[in-house]
Amino acid sequence: MNESMHAVEVRDVSKAYATVQAVDDLSFTVDRGEIFGLLGPNGAGKTTTIRMMLDIIKPSAGEIGVLGGPMTEEKKSRIGYLPEERGLYDDMTVLDTLLFLGQLKGLSSATARERAETYLREVELWEARDRKIEALSQGMNQKAQFVAGTMHEPELLIIDEPFSGLDPVNTRIIKNLLLHMRDRGTAIIMSTHQMQRVEELCERILLIDHGRRVLYGPLEEIREQFVANAVEVDLDGELEEVAGVRRLSPRNGGYRMTLEEGVQPETVLQVLVGMPEVTVQRFERVQRSLDDIFVQVVGHEVENAEEEVA
């Protein structure tokens, strides 16, 4: 296991409960200084995988290395974790909560106070430092939880649905903090159903379904694999039919063309260029969104999704 590269290495890991195979022979790595998307439908095994990485539950089989080896008590101070179903102590003030959780992560009292102030100012919560957690709005609570999970500046941050309940302004604040942490070398594992955030932040992703790996690798490469057999064209002139095009749909002053099976976009471009009555201004392959890919891969509403893309 290479400590300088991989913050997390999961090898052939399985987890079985009495009647359920929650995780099935799963392998992946997460590098330092990257934001890694851990994706999957509800019940796919994401939370179980995270809990195994954190040694909250033990795998039935396989090996997990975290920050260069098995999980230890000492490493807990180098890891940040924000579970999906999270909360803070309602009857404590924001500042007291952060001082307590910061010191549990190994910070001295003075450092915890200093960091709490810095981070609370960054997420615009400093004015609310003496308010009890129960008096915070949902968004403020989310931000306080984020600070609680990151103020010790962990080497590995595991974060489940970090943007739920946040408005666009607060979403941007948290996004910037995550990018800043990544640039500082923190490995960030982000589990979310917000595919737009994954597209914005993640370099690589792992998509699991029924505990198994179904997609894994750099996001751009995955999108290449799922490129739609369609093109969008802006042109001067009218079209009624084009050789090699199965369906021609007018759209925003141009056309979306669904190609026949086996026809390459380059072939259609040559046909269009060869037509004297039209002038091609833009020709672009249709990229499928990660949302579409997710829906297709996990097998839900596949046909509808294809129709939508077409």
Binding site: K76, Y81, Y89
Partner: protein, 399 residues
């Protein structure tokens, strides 16, 4: 240990500031002081009222005045009950004492009045009877007759001296009071620990905390914090009780008469403190297993029931302090602190039993911390559900 201490501090600070804790801790002593003051005032308050008396024996000397605590009573002697009754109806007197004809054969005097006489008036009437029977006796005899045989008992083996009266009452009552405080506080503590753990599960803070600290450290910290909290509570109650009893008894007896069973109290503390930790740990475990606060409270109630064990069998135990039941409950970790206090106050407890009892409590405490820490990890991932026996077994197997 630093992390466990951080958890203990946070637990203590969160709870010690809560309104419920402050009300409970300071409210109970305040209530006791108020009730006690009302009772004492009712017994002693006000000047001695005017009363009359009727001597049907014809053998008592007439008494002009009786002095009690610097107050003087000047009773009116009536020749027959009819005259006394008429004076009472006319409001000349608040009541009248009738000394029956057969008084010297065992007949009891009767007092007729609108309400029962308070303690000072009772004392004045007793003095009246003594003066009536011994009109020529000097004051020193009359004074001594008030308390002719206040015996001090001297233990042959230890030389310990125990005087009758308030000193003896305090000696016997102190362990009983401490045992009751112990039972009450462990019952409260087990209940609070259970509810606190359920609340933490509901607040979903556990999963974040557990990735910063081991379950054993967390359980130790929680138990330590709650125990310190309860010791604060018990400390306030005991201080209140000492001040209250001191005020009530001030001036009524000599301090040298006060006999405190130090040995029993020392062993009570030696067994009581780890015993308290044991209850708090088990209370935590019940909170871990319980699905909601109500279930946690029910389970804590069952635990408290076990702690009250000595009280159910007190009659049997007192009759045979060193018998199998007494020894058994001394060696049972949940009843050892209370039963040992009682036994040591009333008799000697063999040293081997004390040593064995302490060892068993410490071993039980270590085992319960281990057990609760193991199931803690499994339970915190289950929100709103009780931990099933098979899940407990699985958690123990995975340990």
């Amino acid at each position: 240990m630093r992390k466990a201490w951080l958890v203990a501090k946070a637990t203590y600070r969160r709870r010690v500031r809560s309104t419920l804790f402050l009300l409970f801790t300071f409210g109970i002593p305040c209530l006791m002081v108020i009730v006690g003051t009302v009772v004492i005032l009712a017994q002693t308050g006000g000047a001695l009222p005017q009363i009359g008396y009727v001597d049907q024996t014809g053998r008592l000397a007439a008494v002009e005045s009786v002095t009690v605590e610097d107050e003087t009573l000047r009773p009116t002697l009536y020749t027959d009950i009819g005259a006394a009754r008429q004076a009472f109806r006319d409001g000349d007197i608040v009541g009248y004492l009738v000394v029956p004809e057969d008084y010297f054969e065992g007949g009891e005097p009767l007092f007729y009045g609108e309400r029962n006489p308070n303690a000072r008036l009772q004392s004045a009437m007793t003095t009246l009877m003594r003066q009536g029977m011994l009109p020529d006796a000097p004051a020193w005899i009359l004074n001594r007759l008030e308390d002719p045989s206040n015996i001090t008992y001297v233990a042959r083996e230890t030389g310990e001296r125990v005087a009758q009266g308030p000193g003896l009452i305090i000696r016997v009552a102190t362990p009983a009071f401490l045992a009751m405080v112990f039972i009450f506080s462990v019952f409260t503590s087990a209940n609070q620990m259970g509810s606190a753990v359920v609340r933490e599960k509901e607040q979903r803070a556990m999963e974040m905390v557990i990735t910063s600290i081991s379950p054993r450290q967390l359980v130790t910290g929680k138990v330590l914090g709650m125990t310190l909290l309860s010791l604060t509570q018990v400390g306030v109650w005991l201080l209140g009780a000492v001040i209250g009893i001191g005020l009530v008894l001030f001036g009524t007896f000599q301090m040298q008469d006060l006999s405190i069973p130090w040995s029993a109290l020392l062993w009570g503390a030696l067994l009581g403190i780890p015993g308290y930790f044991l209850y708090a740990t088990l209370g935590t475990g019940l909170g871990v297993i319980a699905g909601d606060k109500q279930q946690a409270r029910q389970l804590a109630g069952m635990l408290g029931f076990l702690g009250m064990g000595p009280l159910y069998f007190m009659g049997l135990i007192i009759n045979n302090l060193g018998g199998p039941l007494g020894v058994g409950l001394t060696l049972f970790p949940l009843t050892a602190p209370t039963i040992t206090l009682f036994r040591m106050t009333l008799s000697q407890v063999p040293t081997w039993q004390l040593g064995a009892s302490l060892s068993i409590i410490l071993l039980s405490l270590a085992a319960s911390v281990w057990f609760v820490a193991r199931i803690f990890r499994a339970a915190m991932l289950i929100y709103g559900q009780a931990l099933q026996p098979r899940e407990i077994l699985r958690a123990l197997r995975q340990a």
